[in-house]
Symmetry: C2
């Protein structure tokens, strides 16, 4: 099965992201607004047990940290994905690093740029329009992150949460 690890921001931030995603993100219906902590990876049931154990350890060692959004940015010219830029605080960068060490799959295709996608797969003209207007806007969104989620992907491409990992708590 295909698994992924993400942070789902609180309702207010998700609602803000969805107000754009509804029109500009074809993945709108497949997953709620999220910050990807680890790119999708394949695992079988035996791997999964070990991975869940490791994720519990990671969560226990992680302290809650701030998630701050002040502006929109884009991966252009690599792709025309537009996203809410999440400030790369130390704890978030360390958590991303930690999720690629130990028994966890270590492949990393990209440098980690913390973001919440709000538009993707736009035509060139649409991209210019949307990004042109959004890049002028400032945002003042902030919350404390205290958990991440392990999800698996269904045949239709949608993601279901398998387990929540709460920071600073040791599960037996």
């Amino acid at each position: 099965m295909r698994y992924g690890i993400a942070i789902f921001p609180e309702k207010k931030i998700q609602d803000t992201a969805n107000s754009y995603r509804k029109r500009y993100d074809p993945h709108y219906a497949l997953i709620p607004p999220h910050l990807t902590l680890k790119e999708p990876f394949e695992a079988n049931e035996d791997d999964l047990k070990q991975i869940v154990g490791e994720l519990r350890k990671v969560a226990a060692e992680t302290k809650p940290f701030p998630l701050q959004i002040h502006k929109v940015s884009s991966f252009s010219p690599v792709t025309n994905t537009i996203y809410l830029k999440v400030e790369p605080v130390d704890e978030l960068l360390k958590l991303n690093e930690r999720l690629h060490t130990g028994n966890l799959p270590q492949e990393k295709t990209y440098t980690f740029v913390p973001h919440i996608t709000i538009a993707q797969k736009l035509s060139h003209d649409e991209y210019s329009d949307v990004f042109g207007s959004l890049k002028m806007q400032s945002f003042d969104l902030e919350q404390t992150v205290d958990r991440f989620q392990l999800m698996y992907q269904l045949e239709n491409g949608a993601w279901t949460v398998f387990e929540t990992f709460t920071f600073g708590e040791e599960k037996n």
Copy 2:
């Protein structure tokens, strides 16, 4: 905020449900296939802490149980919702009862009929067609359930998982 509690069945059962939901369920994009354990309820942040504590207790006291699906059924004539009928094993009925006691909101609009919705809000003719063909079919789906999830609802009607509660584990 509006919260709900559900079981997400394993991938195979979700994929089966989605093969129908895609065509027949307008809620297809709002939530993965699920078995509702507790109807949506309102709670503020203070309530939530207490509720999460109580849900951890409930999960710790619950033992994994089988989820079995053999056929499709319908809520007709009350509504024309069609669903995968989930066998009402004792542990599942007790879990539903327990989620309406103690500090948890106790309102119950309906008698608990364990089900995974695959079609709803169909026209009368479409309902007759779809149910007519599905009610002849037998299913042989079974898994062990060892967790439930607390979700909150976004402005667009979609649900995000807030926390997973694994049976038989005491979280500190």
